[in-house]
């Protein structure tokens, strides 16, 4: 039995690795298709053809595409992410700080959004059809329909421009005090929570309702178990798989999909770094960011799958 689980888990991880390799090919091919290269972009429009050729040569951009790709891949395997074309700083240094910033923001958002979302999802399922359920659902649909740049801009207008409680730009530099953390993270976290929790709430609610419809819940009810006991001890453990899946999908957004939040609040995270890298055709940096996003996504999905496999014996077959 355990061997079977181990086999399933290992094959999931194997699939993840193959996906990573495929993604690196796709990203490389996509950047090759973009017009212009880093030499041209660094020199700008005033560049003479000779100057571009000279710079290209000194940056070893003249090598065939697959040689450059291979060089990067080999570097990656030996733990070297390479140096940024644009400013010759080690990619690891550029990515490190920015990734940490994004992870900090993601962590705070997770801590705020996930418990609230689960609580609302489970309670609305418990009191399905009640005024409470309908109110929460209406709000959730309302929030999900508003694009995040709108939420972010409104938040800035209200809290920064009118009330002047919070800064309009967030550098996440003053984290020495609790108040500093609150000030730096409040608006980005509110905006991101709005975006990701709506989905979690609706999926959790649906999953719990599904299990509440099953015959064993009816049986538990007939045996006289209390409603809270039924939901927490009978229904919820069986709904964990789909709930974790919904949570994982939502959280994966916190890594690569936060570009709008990072832009509006000028937060120095990794999504903005990747957009920068694309506009300068900085291949080592684009590749590294793409791999990190892919890795984050795959990790979350794989964890969700493994949890589902472990929590549901039927999936092990």
């Amino acid at each position: 039995m355990d061997q079977q689980v181990a086999y399933l888990v290992l094959s999931r991880i194997g699939v993840a690795i193959v996906t990573l390799i495929v993604v690196s090919f796709v990203v490389f091919a996509a950047t090759e298709m973009l017009p212009g290269d880093v030499a041209q972009i660094l020199l700008g429009q005033a560049a003479t053809p000779e100057a571009v050729a000279g710079l290209r040569q000194s940056m070893k951009l003249d090598d065939p595409a697959f040689v450059r790709f291979l060089r990067w891949m080999l570097g990656l395997l030996s733990g070297d992410l390479g140096r940024s074309y644009a400013n010759n700083i080690a990619v690891a240094d550029l990515v490190g700080g920015r990734l940490l910033n994004t992870l900090k923001l993601a962590l705070v958002t997770t801590v705020v959004a996930v418990p609230i979302a689960l609580l609302l999802g489970i309670t609305t399922a418990m009191y399905r059809g009640s005024a409470y359920d309908r109110t929460v659902n209406m709000l959730v649909v309302g929030v999900i329909s508003v694009p995040e740049f709108m939420i972010a801009t409104l938040a800035v207008l209200v809290f920064a421009v009118w009330l002047r409680w919070l800064p309009a730009v967030s550098f996440a530099t003053d984290l020495s005090s609790l108040w500093g953390i609150v000030r730096a993270f409040a608006m980005p976290v509110i905006t991101q929570s709005c975006v990701i929790s709506a989905q979690m709430i609706r999926m959790t609610r649906a999953a719990v309702i599904d299990t509440l419809k099953t015959p064993y819940v009816e049986m538990a009810l007939l045996k006289g178990a209390s409603w809270n006991h039924i939901v927490l001890h009978h229904a919820l453990p069986n709904a964990v798989g789909p709930i974790i899946n919904a949570v994982a999908l939502s959280l994966s957004y916190l890594l690569g999909g936060v570009i709008i939040v990072e832009t509006v609040f000028n937060y120095p995270g990794i999504a903005k770094l990747m957009v920068d890298a694309v506009s300068t055709r900085d291949l080592p940096l684009i590749q590294s960011c793409a791999m990190i996003f892919c890795l984050g996504y795959l990790t979350l999905i794989t964890i969700a799958d493994i949890v589902a496999i472990v929590s549901n014996p039927r999936l092990r077959k």
Partner: protein
């Protein structure tokens, strides 16, 4: 404030008044205006007094200022040769110095140089200031000048001004404080060229630009490419009037409304280059002032003369008559532009030809010309993009005017990314966007000479090329101006580029920021504001 006698007098009015004074309105003019507006003579005097006081203030030392530009990326650099964005220019101006400096009236002052002289405009002798030190303590000598200028010629450096620097054939150190610059051919503009941001002086042998070692008014304390930079006042600065600010922080907020919001919430004191659409929002708030510079930036419509339909000269001329300059100025740019006359030299430049009038909007004439060219019933594609600022609005204005005379234009809106390498200079009819350049010679050599790298319309004229060379070596201002005047007429009539307006740059600033002046090199005082402004307490 001492203006209790006046009702409805707001901060906005006060700043408008100060602004008018700053731009040179006379006291008498303003007084007449105020009285006409229902303000009593006595109250008017008090108001004007207050505004004058605010202007006459002497700089105060201290404070930390935060300013935001509009773009920055991981390609941000401390290497002046590679500087390409406003954020880079701001850093360069703060940490380094140039040999010469361009003043707000376009005149050239000496900065690190004591004097720059030449008899034939080919060999130039540069005497340097003594007692200047770099941030790391090294003394500034002619060897630094030689190194800083010569590196622009090395393709591996990737200098942005490689094409301009090419005319320098040699720089040598005569003695510790004298350098000699030898040009391939006479060029009287050299002192102006040396005032460009890329020609900042760095210490001899510098190859590592992870930190800035310059002679400038600030030392680089924090530099995170694509995130932010912080500079601290250099107490050993060679100019007796050192920087006023203790420190300044510069970063980019690319989103236009986010930048204005940050200013409105008091997080930053300068929001540079805001779009015409956001101006009303900023203007209406107390404590916000607008600083406007029209320095020669323009978006132009190009028809390539070597492709259809631009190869028919009547089509090009018709296009110039169909360009409704007033409409572009008023609606596309909300009044923040000056009407231009199809040639690239702005009215602020001493060589501007004031006799060359802009073409009037004349659809009938345009129709007749299009008919003559045989294009009236065809559909002509125009390529526009966000990359060339306001070009989409301009294209729509042209399209509208065309519809009125039965001329169909198909606007092809293409993405910003890749615009400059894929469409610009290539499509038969497309928009371009050109940043201000300090001299007519640079503009003409870059854009209109037969071998110009950015010859947007493929305009070729042997006569024009000869005149360009002749003017370049001419040290006599009047003779030079006469040649440039004629060249402007040639460009306006013969080239396939239509320049409808010069676009103003508008920086929104907190009224606590004082000492900011306009500069022809660009917004934010030609990006050199950090050294000159102060924060009012």
């Amino acid at each position: 404030m001492s203006n209790r006698d006046v009702t409805n007098w707001t901060w906005t009015d006060q700043t408008a008044l100060e602004d008018a004074l700053r731009r040179g309105a006379s006291r008498r003019d303003l007084m007449r205006m105020l009285v006409a507006g229902g303000v009593s003579l006595a109250a008017g005097n008090i108001l004007l007094g207050g505004a004058g006081e605010a202007l006459a203030q002497t700089p105060t030392k201290g404070g930390h200022m935060k300013a935001a530009g509009w773009s920055s990326s991981t390609a941000d650099t401390l290497d002046p040769a590679k500087a390409s964005l406003s954020t880079d220019y701001v850093r360069c101006c703060a940490y380094y110095n140039r040999l010469t400096f361009m003043e707000e009236d376009g005149s050239i002052k000496m900065e690190l140089a004591e004097s720059i002289e030449s008899r034939d405009a080919t060999v130039w002798t540069v005497k340097l200031k003594s007692g200047v030190t770099f941030h790391n303590g090294k003394t500034f000598t002619s060897a630094d000048v030689v190194f800083s200028l010569m590196r622009h010629l090395d393709p591996a450096v990737g200098s942005k001004v490689n094409s301009i620097a090419k005319q320098i054939v040699g720089v040598k150190a005569v003695d510790a404080l004298t350098a000699e610059i030898r040009l391939a051919a006479a060029n009287a503009d050299l002192p102006t060229i040396l005032a460009m941001h890329h020609f900042m002086i760095i210490a001899e042998g510098t190859t590592d630009f992870s930190n800035a070692n310059g002679t400038g008014a600030f030392r680089s304390k924090v530099f995170e490419p694509g995130v932010r930079s912080i500079g601290e006042r250099n107490e050993n600065y060679f100019k007796p009037q050192k920087a006023n600010l203790d420190s300044f922080e510069y970063f980019a907020i690319p989103d236009d409304s986010a930048r204005v919001n940050a200013l409105l919430s008091g997080d930053i004191q300068i929001a540079s280059s805001i779009k015409p659409q956001s101006i009303r929002l900023a203007e209406s708030r107390p404590g916000i002032v607008l600083s406007k510079t029209t320095s020669g930036n323009y978006t132009n419509l190009n028809a390539r003369l070597d492709m259809t339909p631009g190869d028919k000269s009547d089509f090009v001329e018709g296009l110039k008559f169909l360009l409704n300059r007033q409409a572009i100025q008023r609606s596309a740019l909300r009044g923040l532009a000056e009407i231009a006359n199809d040639q690239p030299i702005p009215p602020t430049n001493p060589y501007f030809n004031a006799d060359l009038k802009p073409r009037a909007f004349d659809p009938d004439k345009a129709k007749a010309l299009f008919q003559k060219a045989g294009v009236l019933n065809q559909t002509i594609p125009i390529v526009a993009s966000e990359a060339a600022s306001s070009s989409i609005d301009m294209a729509m204005i042209v399209q509208q005017a065309g519809a009125g005379i039965g001329m169909k234009f198909d606007i092809q809106r293409v993405p910003s990314d890749g615009y400059w390498s894929k469409y610009w200079l290539k499509a038969p009819v497309h928009f371009g966007n050109i940043n201000p350049r300090p001299t007519p010679d640079i503009l003409f050599s870059l854009l209109y000479a037969s071998d110009a790298p950015w010859n947007e319309s493929q305009f070729k004229s042997a006569k024009f090329d000869r005149m360009l060379l002749e003017a370049r070596g001419q040290l006599d201002f009047a003779k030079r101006k006469a040649i440039y005047n004629e060249m402007q007429v040639m460009v306006a009539n013969e080239a396939g580029t239509a320049i409808p307006v010069f676009i103003s740059n508008v920086d929104a600033i907190s009224d606590k920021v004082k000492g900011l002046r306009a500069n022809p090199l660009g917004g934010q005082m030609g990006y050199a504001f950090a050294e000159y402004v102060w924060l009012q307490r």
